[in-house]
């Protein structure tokens, strides 16, 4: 299983009628078992690239292949976690997961879907809150439900669009650990592709970090391999000299433009 993006170009027409070249010549091959982050300033096209990988958007030119098969639409091999939770407000937590799993895996017996829904909701610690509506729980819980929903589809590729941007720092730390745990042990998921604004988050979680430049420059500025052994400990990793090296490189790359501060 690999996710292969080749020669991706994407332009948008702005409200004023200007054509904006958002993605310019992106080549990225994510290998099985890899966690890859995309980092860059707002407007660099990282979310666009993620949506293209998910099949929600089509590139102008270039191809996306999942395990050699061309991606033109969303598929059960790829699941997404959106920035703003995106739970359906009238469904309980468990129904949000069940409905998505049944829709994404129509061939599967519904008893099996329910079982998987229970497993992942339990894994993120939400089984006892399963009957609550999204409006009744905190932002962190909503995002955990969204993560459970994505894993419950049992995708090979998990696509995350700034998944922890809207939660507080402590919740974020817990969610990051849960994510890595689910990805490494409990699930079928092989590849994680994540959009983030957080430099430390990218280093802590990823094997490789794609640093993206603002248009009109070529989209991929650099790809940095973190080379830190797993399991990683969020406290001691900060003292790792290699962590420091990667952090400085990322800061250097992202501050070249110096247009807006980057969350550290």
């Amino acid at each position: 299983m690999s996710l292969d993006l080749k020669g991706i170009h994407k332009t948008f027409t702005t409200a004023g009628g200007h054509r904006q070249h958002v993605l310019r010549g992106v080549d990225l091959c994510v290998e099985p078992g890899e966690f890859v982050s995309m980092i860059g300033h707002s407007g660099c096209g990282k979310s666009t690239l993620l949506n293209i990988a998910g099949g929600l958007l089509r590139p102008d030119t270039g191809t996306v292949a999942s395990d050699g098969v061309a991606v033109t639409a969303p598929g059960p091999d790829r699941a997404m976690v959106f920035q703003n939770y995106s739970l359906l407000p009238r469904l309980s937590m468990v129904d949000n997961v069940r409905v998505a799993v049944r829709a994404a895996r129509p061939g599967r017996a519904s008893s099996r879907s329910d079982e998987v829904a229970e497993r992942y909701l339990t894994a993120v610690g939400l089984w006892e809150h399963r009957d609550k509506k999204p409006a009744q729980v905190s932002g962190g819980m909503k995002q955990r439900a969204a993560v459970a929903r994505a894993f419950a589809v049992e995708p090979r590729v998990l696509l995350l669009d700034e998944p922890f941007a809207a939660v507080d720092a402590l919740t974020r730390a817990r969610l990051q650990s849960q994510l890595v745990e689910l990805w490494q042990s409990e699930s079928e998921t092989e590849i994680v592709l994540m959009v983030t604004h957080g430099i430390d988050e990218a280093i802590l979680l990823s094997d490789r970090i794609v640093v993206m430049a603002n248009p009109p420059q070529p989209s991929v500025m650099d790809i940095i391999t973190t080379d830190l052994p797993r399991p990683r400990d969020r406290v001691s990793i900060i003292d790792d000299p290699h962590f420091r090296v990667v952090q400085e490189r990322l800061l250097g790359l992202l501050l070249i433009e110096d247009k807006e501060p980057v969350a550290v």
Partner: protein
């Protein structure tokens, strides 16, 4: 009141319908005080109106005084269900006949209008195809349809039902379309990523997200339908509250006309409150969570 702006509808898919809101009095301290001031002012307003009416009626031989009209109203309400032949029935009999017609036309309008509205809001092509027709027909007084239905059905009371259908149709279609067009992009993306089938999309995304707007449409429709039924029954004759008013006018009994007016108003108020309740029941907290 929630209403969709006409000029927006002509150009493009409509803007999202805001949540139904009820204008309340400015905050006072404690509900008892609030209720007391509300009641006091209501009584004051009604008394002023009645006094003006009483004063006006002293200058006219035709206009009955409030005392006469309320007396007639009391008599009408005292025996509401009697039936002495086609032109002499209790007021409740007329009301029930009118409510029945409104209900039939309204249900038919909802059965057609909700699916059509959902389709128009969810599908660009359906919108482009149907919107010009809707915009052309919507400004037409529903009464203008009466001759058409009469020719088709050859039965005046039946034609009245279908005039109500037309009346109720447009607000339902347009509000439903507005609701369906305003399904949040997040929800559409969820449906796409998890590959919701058509049934799952309608059931879990389109319908729940459009529901508040649909109820707003139903409420508007019911309001207009209840107004139009009086007019159409004046045309159609037969049993009904509109006929009752016309018949009372022909008998030069304005007291009965005024009584009927008050009863119609009260029934309309109750209908509106029912739909307001329904609107609150289907509103969802944190709808865009």
């Amino acid at each position: 009141m929630t209403d969709i702006k006409t000029h927006e509808l002509i150009e493009s898919p409509p803007a999202p319908v805001p949540k139904p809101e009820v204008a309340g009095p400015p905050a006072a301290t404690g509900w008892l005080q609030r209720a007391a001031s509300t009641t006091t002012m209501a009584v004051l307003g009604l008394t002023t109106f009645t006094l003006l009416w009483a004063w006006g009626s002293t200058y006219s031989r035709e206009l009955p005084s409030p005392a006469t009209a309320f007396g007639t109203l009391r008599d009408l309400l005292a025996s509401p269900f009697y039936d002495h032949g086609p032109n002499d029935k209790g007021i409740a009999v007329y009301l029930i006949a009118s409510l029945g017609r409104v209900f039939k036309g309204f249900v038919a309008a909802a059965a057609v209008g909700i699916p059509v509205g959902l389709l128009m809001g969810a599908n660009r092509w359906a919108w482009k195809a149907a919107n010009p027709l809707v915009q052309l027909l919507r400004p037409v007084s529903p009464l203008a349809w009466f001759p058409i239905w009469l020719v088709i059905l050859k039965d005046a009371p039946q034609a009245a039902v279908w005039v109500i259908f037309i009346t109720a149709l447009w607000p339902i279609v347009l509000n439903t379309a507005a609701g369906a067009a305003a399904v949040p992009k997040d929800h559409r993306n969820v449906a796409r990523v998890f590959r919701f089938g058509r049934v799952a999309y309608v059931r879990h995304v389109l319908l729940p997200d459009s529901l508040p707007a649909i109820v707003t449409g139903l409420r508007q429709s019911m309001g207009v339908a209840w107004m139009v039924i009086v007019a159409v029954e004046m045309l159609s004759g037969g049993t009904g509250i509109g006929f009752f008013i016309w018949d009372s006018y022909n008998a030069l009994n304005l007291s009965k006309v005024i009584s009927a007016l008050l009863v119609i108003g009260a029934v309309g108020l109750v209908l509106d409150l029912l739909f307001l309740r329904l609107g609150r029941a289907v509103a969802v907290e944190g709808a865009h969570a």
